[in-house]
């Protein structure tokens, strides 16, 4: 998957911190590099 393919898919997605208000997914890496790990269920 290229970023051009990803961009329209994430455009409207928000995620919730474990405490606090929702943030736009894309804002996580707008101005920095991150390692983004999707976990299976907690437990």
């Amino acid at each position: 998957m290229t970023y051009d393919e990803l961009r329209p898919r994430i455009k409207s997605i928000t995620i919730q911190p474990f405490q606090g208000k929702e943030v736009k997914l894309e804002s996580l890496w707008n101005d920095r590099r991150i390692v983004l790990a999707f976990l299976r269920h907690f437990g």
């Binding site: 590099r33 991150i34 390692v35 999707f38």
Partner: protein, 134 residues
Amino acid sequence: MFARQQAAALMGIKGKLDKAGILLVAIGSGSPEGAKHFMDKLHFTGEMYVNQDLSAYKAFKLERGFLQTLGPSALIRGVQAMRKGFRQGLTDGDTWQQGGIFVIGPGNKLIFQHRNKFAGDHADLDAVLKAVLG
């Protein structure tokens, strides 16, 4: 159990990520309370978010399904994880959803992508570090 294993492995490379100025972010499919409990129990010190409607998982085209969760490959990895001391606790989140790891940013740079084909099919973290530090 696999989330615990993955989180523990990620904490093993966090020092190198910190030195390189790279933020470690995790997204789970459970509740915010479950995320907090998970972080406390696993001593996970990255940023943690939840995505209970799985929209972010879908956007990144991550696997989800019965076979991916309970098929032979997943069961073998489960036994291997248990031999390493990981145990399944009370679950919070989507049972069938698989995970993955991406190195992304700043902006529109998608540098590394790994989608778990089945439960326990985690990314090679040496490859993640190579992508990060590249």
